[in-house]
């Protein structure tokens, strides 16, 4: 039943004009960035900003608007012999799948073609995680707020929070407590923000030379170790699942 639903949501979304424009935009950016420089590492660096800023933004806003715009359709589906759980998860999967597809065509394939190194793979994986995670956060924002305008506002704020405000607070903390050893708290703090976590995983490939240059090399030792890698990926999975789970609980109780 869910597969059928997902199929139709995806079929609808891949014909969506915004998704098409988004795919094309990503493709243009990645091909442009790679062909501008013969040095693919620089292309990867530029793409990293795209992956960590644009992808979350588009994922969260598009998904939020989609859910609001589909509210009548969702109602109709809720009146069908379907479990609410499968209905909601289908919408989530459909959204995440379509946006991931756009990302893979726009960024994934060019990166793997032009670069193909482990760094490229990490970048692509991070982008996929960003897509999935922010789609989930969007669903939570949309299900929590009834009003569309307010919901979109919340979504934009959340994006802003994860990409900028959070890091600003961390920076503040860093300088307030610069006399204390902060490496370990920093590791914990980076886990609490999926954007930071993905960024650090990319850094670990891109800037390992610099990361290793710090005495103690706490970051590279932690994130570079098998345990750290595993934990990071696990946390990213948690980030992909937890907001969706909360949104599901909310949706199951929601009056449509």
């Amino acid at each position: 039943m869910m597969q059928t639903m997902i199929k139709y949501v995806v079929l609808d979304l891949i014909k969506n004009r915004i998704i098409l424009v988004y795919t094309f935009f990503l493709l243009l950016m990645s091909v442009g960035m790679f062909s501008m420089d013969e040095n693919t590492t620089k292309g990867i660096m530029s793409l990293m900003n795209l992956v960590l800023i644009i992808i979350p933004l588009v994922s969260i806003i598009f998904s939020t608007i989609y859910v609001y715009n589909s509210s009548e359709f969702i109602e109709l589906l809720a009146a069908q012999p379907l479990k609410r759980k499968s209905l909601w998860l289908s919408i989530y999967s459909g959204l995440a799948l379509s946006l991931s597809l756009a990302f893979m065509i726009g960024v994934g394939i060019p990166v793997l073609l032009f670069d193909g190194t482990l760094t490229g793979w990490v970048l692509v994986l991070s982008g996929l995680f960003q897509t999935i995670i922010f789609t989930g956060i969007a669903l939570l924002a949309a299900v929590k707020t009834r009003d569309k305008a307010k919901g979109i506002g919340v979504a934009i704020f959340l994006w802003f929070f994860f990409t900028l405000i959070y890091d600003g607070l961390v920076l503040l903390l860093l300088f307030q407590f610069s006399d204390y050893p902060l490496e370990k708290p920093m590791i914990a703090l980076s886990m609490l923000n999926p954007v930071d976590l993905s960024r650090i995983l990319i850094l670990l490939k891109l800037d390992i030379s610099a990361l290793m240059g710090y005495t103690g090399a706490v970051f590279s030792n932690f994130f570079g170790s098998g345990f750290g890698m595993l934990l990071s990926v696990l946390i990213l999975f948690l980030w992909s699942a937890v907001p969706v789970w909360f949104s599901l609980k909310q949706f199951q109780r929601k009056d449509l």
Binding site: T41, G168, V170, L174, M186, I202, D207, S209
Partner: protein, 410 residues
């Protein structure tokens, strides 16, 4: 080529009085020691395949020792295998294995002591303390040797090729790995070090001090514990070498401490935590080098003066430069910096606005290592841009006035 040289050597030594000795199973002689004792100046000794456990051999005659298919000289982890104490000795094609170790005595597999024109050529060294140890030697040629040991830490290991108070040495095409320092020179002058490969050593790939007027050409130093460190020397020429993959808190492509009047040209620094570290070094010409994918391409202490950094390519480094001072006494000119975002209106290939190689975040990282967590984040990008427009933290006068728009072909 090798055969030609061998034949040449054979002719040189095969004069009327010279005799050829053969040592090995089924040959006229069985013991190297006995043969050395019997031989006279100018003789040649062929050593045939086999394992020879003959303790320490000391050569005090001008002999040519030639191994056929790498006969093994086994030191049984007790002794220094071979000591050259006579001018013009040639040692070729031997396999030195398991030389002795000592914690109070620098035991080597092969020692060249107090002599001239020794030739150590195409030998192999495996598992030992020091590899080739030269002391008070002049004009020795050490070439084509392969040295491999299994050093675990700095304390219990020796150096691969170790020269002390030597002059006019010619060290080329050797491969050294698994020692404390791959190449170590102290009070060595007028020497030529070329096309060696030194990798996987516990401490430094190359380490020298108080050694002036030497040239280092086309060597490879990679993946050593702390990279390369050179100190307290003058008139050094470092050209066309590769410094790569040296990672760690105190690992440098090359650390130059109090090096003066020297030239570092055409080298490639790749994937090092720090490409070039300069401390108290003056009048160094850093020209036409490639810095790629280093953590910091250059770290320069404020104690450096009158260095010129010109026509280098800087690409894909995490940071181009870091410093602890203003560094206005050094000149930066016509380098290519991939992070440069300026423009070139008159199309002369030189950017119209100067480039500041020290970024705000690199300064921040110096003060607070934990801030690395935010590296390449959106907010740091914004702050970096703001800093570029209105410098607060970064040294204002440290800049390349003529940054190149396109990388140099290096």
């Amino acid at each position: 080529m090798k055969i030609c040289i061998t034949i040449l050597f054979l002719f040189l030594f095969t004069d009327a009085t010279a005799k050829l000795w053969r040592v090995g199973a089924g040959q006229q002689e069985r013991s190297i020691r006995a043969t050395i004792n019997k031989a006279t100046d100018g003789d040649t000794i062929f050593i045939y395949p086999g394992i020879y456990k003959e303790g320490q051999l000391i050569i005090t005659k001008k002999l040519f020792l030639k191994g056929i298919q790498y006969p093994v000289l086994d030191g049984e982890q007790k002794v220094e295998i071979l000591t050259i104490r006579c001018d013009g000795v040639v040692v070729e094609g031997l396999f030195f294995k398991r030389s002795g170790r000592s914690s109070y005595n620098d035991i080597a597999a092969l020692r060249i002591a107090d002599c001239r024109n020794a030739v150590v050529k195409n030998n192999r060294f495996e598992s030992g303390y020091f590899g080739i140890y030269s002391q008070h030697a002049t004009a020795a040629i050490i070439t084509g040797n392969r040295l491999q040991s299994d050093a675990k830490d700095e304390v219990s290991s020796g150096n691969g090729i170790h020269c002390w108070k030597s002059d006019s040495m010619h060290i080329s095409s050797n491969t050294v790995t698994g020692y404390r320092d791959g190449l170590y020179f102290e009070f060595v002058t007028n020497s030529y070090i070329k096309s060696n490969t030194s990798y996987g050593n516990v401490r430094y790939g190359l380490h020298f001090m108080f050694s002036g007027n030497n040239s280092y050409i086309s060597n490879v130093f990679r993946d050593n514990g702390a990279g390369v460190a050179v100190m307290y020397s003058k008139n050094i020429r470092i050209q066309n070498n590769l410094f790569a993959d040296n990672w760690g808190g105190a690992a440098y492509g090359i650390l130059m401490k109090e090096i003066t009047d020297s030239r570092v040209e055409g080298n490639r620094f790749q994937k090092n935590s720090v490409g070039v570290m300069l401390e108290g070094s003056n009048r160094i010409q850093l020209l036409k080098n490639v810095f790629i994918q280093n953590g910091w391409a250059i770290k320069m202490q404020a104690s450096c003066m009158d260095n010129s950094i010109e026509q280098n390519n800087f690409s894909a480094n995490s940071f181009d430069m870091a410093t602890n001072g203003e560094l206005v006494l050094n000149s930066f000119k016509k380098n290519y910096w991939d992070k440069y975002e300026g423009y070139d209106l008159n199309r002369d290939g030189i950017g119209d606005v100067p480039y500041h190689p020290v970024s705000m975040f690199s300064m921040m990282g110096e003060r607070n290592a934990s801030s690395m967590m935010l590296f390449r984040s959106f907010i740091v990008g914004l702050l970096d841009k703001a800093e570029k427009m209105l410098p607060v933290l970064t040294p204002v006068d440290l800049k390349d006035h003529q940054p190149l728009m396109k990388p140099l072909k290096l």
